[in-house]
Symmetry: C2
Subunit: 310 residues, 2 copies
């Protein structure tokens, strides 16, 4: 039985602060329709796909922050998206800011959900690696307050059975950490969906700004190769509220090769046939985990105590 | 105080089965002299630098295998190399097959040593990730019997204080595993020395043969970037006993950029000024381990039980 998932990475251009969720969702429906015309079974949207990337603003009033969060999903703004995908029988994933209750507490997560072709939410991933800083740093041209506005996920990485295979999710900064891909692969993932919002300018080390695209692809490709899995990287791109976000959305094969890549910094669909059986080319050979991993040599990685600073 | 290590990667061309250790060491002395003329403080030679890559042959008689191993270091064949380096005040590293006793048993390791400018062996690393297979597989055009001829190291990864910084070592297949670089970085390494012998032809998945150079650089570059450290990759290259070994020796900056790369498949020196202070550009920012790592989400990685097969 074929395990080819015809996958669309649905890159999105900028979303301004005053664009409504309904408007963003309408753009997503248009991209979904384009992908459907190309025969896609799965459409992957970026991180925080419904709003502007709000951690760039310091907002002293928590109510202003909370206005960017969703308390239920689907909700009024995304109903049409869910309905259209279900009608087309297409699975999709997207990121949003999620406010929810558990363990008797209110939590705010940077979340991505995966919805199957029947319209069921089959996976909900909360971002593990929150980059940036917790306090207002006025010297920066823009903030990166993910550590202030979101809780880090206590749920770790996981993969779910859907689309004839095992699919995992990660979000933005997660993709730079090799542990992300390895944890997902050890959970069985054959494909990982990763949305991102990545400013070209990195205020603490601006001399690396010209390397942002290189580092993006290097991370996606290395993660795919070292784990023999498909990696779908999807940007929110372009000039968003004066902040220059990289594009470079890419579908990466288990060999680490980019098989298709976005050509614009706007709303754009790229599509590839992702054969999940190709994972075995790598994972039954050079990265046969059962034969070749040496977990007894990896003890520092999972040790809880703060590591010595390099 | 400057912490620039002027580093030479000393790529070596093929070593035939009947070439003596003394001859190989003579070639290494010639490369050392070339590096000295370019002002190098450190010269990095490949894995198994003294002999042909013998795991390509199935040898039923253990005495034939043992003939490739060294029982002491330095020894008669390498005395001149040690003496010349000491006279020049140059540190160097190289790999060899090591037979030694510990815990009341005889062990055979795929080993690399690091010798400081005063001629002292300051680090001895034994390969953790042994690729290949333990039994003779006659269907292969050549064998890869590292799992038969070597013990996997029980000593893990480590970094030593020398050359004004912290230096670590890894060997060949180790470089494909992100855990290698992370363990070394968590041990404090600012530079990692990695020799390799990599056949272009991979018998279990020949359709990836054309990707060998890509996978080599992808692994070295991703390891450097995700840990903010210098990576020195050094090949034994060229057609060795009918086996086509890739070259591509490279010095990779903590940004993941290749700053210099070999142009031949033979004995060749490439040199770069490696400023260990540049590690902080990455490791004090995007990969600030103390701020951003999430070890509680990395538990599968170090778990001892065999992982589920992907």
């Amino acid at each position: 039985m074929s395990r080819v998932v015809r996958t669309a990475a649905a890159q999105m251009g900028p979303i301004s602060r005053d664009e409504t969720r309904a408007s963003a969702a309408e753009r997503m429906v248009a991209l979904l329709d384009q992908a459907a015309r190309q025969g896609a079974n799965l459409v992957v949207f970026p991180e925080l796909a419904l709003t502007s990337f709000f951690p760039r603003w310091f907002m002293p009033d928590q109510a202003d922050v909370d206005a960017f969060f969703e308390t239920e999903m689907p909700n009024a703004a995304t109903e049409t998206l869910f309905a259209r995908a279900r009608a087309l029988g297409i699975a999709f994933s997207f990121g949003y800011a999620e406010m929810c209750q558990h363990d008797g507490k209110l939590h705010r997560y940077n979340t991505a959900i995966l919805v199957d072709g029947a319209g069921q939410i089959v996976d909900r991933y909360r971002k593990v690696h929150l980059p940036g800083h917790p306090e207002h740093e006025p010297w920066r041209p823009f903030q990166h307050l993910e550590k202030r506005y979101f809780d880090p996920s206590p749920f770790g990485f996981h993969a779910v059975d859907t689309l004839g295979g095992k699919i995992g999710q990660a979000i933005c900064n997660d993709r730079r950490w090799p542990e992300t891909y390895r944890e997902l692969a050890l959970a069985g993932a054959e494909m990982v969906l990763i949305g991102y919002n990545t400013p070209r300018h990195y205020p603490p080390a601006p001399k690396h700004d010209h390397l942002q695209d290189f580092h993006n692809h290097l991370s996606l490709q290395a993660g795919a190769y070292a784990n023999g899995m498909w990696v779908i990287g999807v940007a929110k791109a372009g000039i968003e509220e004066g902040c220059d976000l990289i594009g470079g959305s890419a579908i990466v094969a288990p060999t680490g090769e980019i098989v298709v890549q976005a050509q614009t910094l706007g709303d754009e669909i790229i599509v590839a046939d992702c054969d999940l059986d190709r994972c075995a080319e790598i994972r039954a050979n050079i990265f046969d985990f059962a034969k070749h991993r040496r977990p007894e040599a990896y003890t520092r990685i999972a040790a809880k105590d703060a590591p010595a600073k390099g």
